[in-house]
């Protein structure tokens, strides 16, 4: 886990808000507002945050499915931020995505086999008998039977459909798979099947996951490192064990305290934050979390804290933790 596969530097994605007859721009949605991270080969980086925090936009920008406003994306050391469509094409093979909704992301008029084989055909990597054999192998890898290749998406259950999406993502032998809430639409007992499959496939193939989810427990289970996002920025990033043992950002602490634990003896449903996430159209100045933070100081309203290393690869963007390397926000 030494080689850096993906490096994102100061990524920003702003959307204009238009109104009126002349569609004049009246504001800007700061969907992603200066996000930097790196992802190593064979590693899973979890990206968590609440709705509207920009985690999905980060995922899509990395794949160039949305064009970033500014910043840099380097895949395998090569800057792909501004590559043209044709120049990007060979790189597309090494990055794939699995979406949340396995009902919406499969073409209902194609057979499962055609769906999984399409990337191979499009990139001219296989055809005819060979294509069929490779698709059959992919089906087996994700726990489907090759004879199901001729079935249409509606003949599969939700969990099986997500397996088809995973097989399609695997087809080109990618080095990076972005998973955008891949298990959120699935039932609990099916969710475990898909999570286990994702982990097994990573062990076999050694690719990296950028794993986006709102469910902290799922992210904790699958990730090696976890980044917490709030209103378009990463507020904390650390190794999984470190983050959950020693959360330093007040928002991470609030997030962890809000997760209901499946153990009636560990009663601790303590909402540590009041109110709602502010609108990303006009995010609060300074630290975006200061409006809900228990520890907010005068400085937090004006100064935007930088994401600083506090030791052991643990980075926090909070003025309370600035350079101390110690947690002083645990109550």
């Amino acid at each position: 886990m030494t080689e850096v596969l993906l490096e994102v530097t100061d990524l920003k994605k702003h959307y204009p808000v238009r109104a009126g007859v002349l569609r004049r721009q009246v504001g800007t949605v700061h969907s992603v507002d200066g996000v930097s991270f790196c992802l190593h080969a064979g590693e899973t980086l979890g990206l968590v945050g609440e709705s509207g925090c920009g985690k999905s936009t980060v995922a899509r920008s990395v794949l160039r499915l949305v064009e970033p406003t500014s910043g840099q994306i380097r895949l395998d050391g090569k800057d792909i931020t501004h590559l043209s469509k044709t120049a990007l094409r060979p790189h597309r093979r090494s990055m794939q995505i699995v979406f949340q909704d396995p009902f919406a992301s499969l073409n209902p008029r194609m057979t499962a086999g055609d769906i999984v084989g399409e990337p191979l055909a499009v990139h001219g990597l296989a055809s005819g008998k060979e294509l069929e054999a490779r698709v059959a192998r992919l089906f087996e890898q994700v726990g489907l039977r090759p004879d199901q290749m001729r079935n249409f998406p509606h003949q599969f259950s939700g969990g099986q459909r997500q397996r088809i999406c995973i097989a399609r993502a695997l087809a080109l032998g990618p080095r990076l798979i972005v998973c955008d809430e891949p298990v959120s639409a699935l039932d609990v007992s099916i969710q475990a099947q898909v999570i286990n499959l994702l982990i097994d496939l990573q062990r076999q193939h050694g690719f990296s996951y950028l794993f986006i989810a709102h469910d902290l427990a799922v992210v904790a289970h699958i990730s090696h490192r976890v980044a917490v996002m709030y209103l378009g920025r990463i507020v904390e990033i650390a190794g999984k064990d470190e983050l959950f043992r020693n959360p330093r950002h007040p928002y991470t602490q609030a997030l962890l305290a809000s997760v209901p634990i499946a153990n009636p003896l560990a009663k601790r449903l303590t909402p540590l934050v009041d109110g709602d996430v502010p609108s990303p159209v006009n995010p609060p100045p300074g630290c975006a979390f200061h409006t809900r933070c228990r520890f907010a100081m005068e400085r937090c309203k004006t100064e935007r804290p930088a994401l600083l290393e506090t030791g052991d690869g643990h980075q926090v963007a909070c003025l309370l933790n600035e350079g101390t390397g110690r947690s002083n926000t645990i109550s």
């Binding site: 634990i261 499946a262 153990n263 449903l269 709602d276």
Partner: protein
């Protein structure tokens, strides 16, 4: 057991079916349970297990056709709801028994001010002037901790955030101080920090008002943190019932046990995280073609010949811990 007068809800052998083109659909099959004053009963299960249809049956809101309650009784504060005609039921609904849904945006009227919607609910059941009802509405919004309730009462649903809308729904549901509140996945559409706020609010109000609560959820974490008693449903049947402590300490049904082992947990000091999640193979069966015996048998590691042939009865395994499994005694050792 508890004093009879303490009982808010007594459901016996409830059966709700749907008549569809592909056949008869037993959505709720022979389900019984009770709720006491101030008690929280959680109903858990996966999609299609019948938990939401159970809730709709309690409210007598099952769409007919295609659905119909074909058996059993639902007694709310001693009144059999199934014996009431529609006009009588309307007097009970929203008054003695209320419900909040998963998606507040679809259950609020988008073109009516929040305050007016509460006023409407209140005046339907209580003889109040519109001025008095307006005061009740603002008071209810204050009770659910909406800041500046008087101003918010004049706003429309789209002007509120998701969490605020769910608070407004709760205010409306509790405006007539019902004996029983049904919450069907009340926090599933909300972010986790908002979920914690809403759950804490529901529990506080329940304590304050003494309301009985039926909480329907798929989230075992929510169950553990809120309920006193739990029933687990699978394919339309109640497969297990126990106090929340007993259920989490020693589940008796292989399905419950499998479910618990399949959820990932947030690493917490003192609770070891599993290296690998347990999988329950296969998927939930179609309710149209249920196996003759136990519906879980095809997915069950413990299944024996008898499970496929005969449906196991709900048996008491001590202290009111009910489970419908032929091999319940061995579950703890084997699974």
């Amino acid at each position: 057991m508890a004093d009879k007068s303490d009982l808010v809800l007594d459901v016996r052998n409830l059966q709700t079916v749907f008549f569809t083109n592909s056949g008869l659909f037993r959505a709720v099959d022979d389900v019984s349970f009770t709720v006491k004053r101030g008690e929280t009963l959680a109903i858990v299960g996966e999609s299609g297990c019948g938990k939401s249809v159970t809730a709709l049956s309690l409210m007598r809101l099952v769409p007919d056709p295609p659905g119909r309650i074909v058996g059993g009784s639902i007694s709310l504060e001693g009144t059999d709801l199934l014996a009431l005609d529609e006009a009588e039921m309307r007097a009970v609904r929203g008054n003695r028994i209320s419900m909040i849904f998963q998606e507040p945006m679809t259950s609020l009227n988008p073109v009516m001010r929040i305050g007016d919607q509460i006023v409407e609910a209140v005046r339907l059941h209580r003889k109040l002037s519109s001025k008095e009802a307006g005061d009740v509405a603002v008071e209810m919004l204050r009770l659910v901790r909406i800041p500046e309730p008087a101003r918010r009462a004049r706003e429309y649903p789209h002007q509120l955030s998701g969490g605020m809308r769910q608070r407004a729904m709760i205010a409306m549901a509790l405006a007539c101080r019902p004996a029983l509140l049904i919450a069907d996945e009340p926090t599933t559409a909300l972010d986790v920090t908002i979920q914690a706020q809403i759950l804490a609010l529901i529990l506080d109000l329940q304590k304050e008002l003494g309301t009985g609560l039926v909480l329907i959820t798929h989230d075992l974490g929510v169950v553990a943190q809120t309920a006193q008693r739990v029933i687990v449903m699978y394919a339309g049947r109640k497969v297990e019932e126990a106090s929340v402590e007993a259920l989490f300490a020693a589940p008796k049904h292989p399905y419950t046990r499998g479910l618990m082992a399949s959820i990932p947990v947030v690493p917490t000091p003192g609770i070891a995280a599993p290296a690998r999640l347990n999988e329950i193979p296969g998927t939930v069966p179609s309710l149209v073609r249920l196996p003759r015996g136990c519906a879980f048998a095809p997915r069950c590691k413990l299944a024996i010949k008898r499970c496929e042939a005969e449906y196991p009865p709900l048996a008491d395994w001590g202290g009111g811990h009910l489970a419908a499994c032929w091999r319940a005694e061995e579950v703890a050792e084997v699974a």
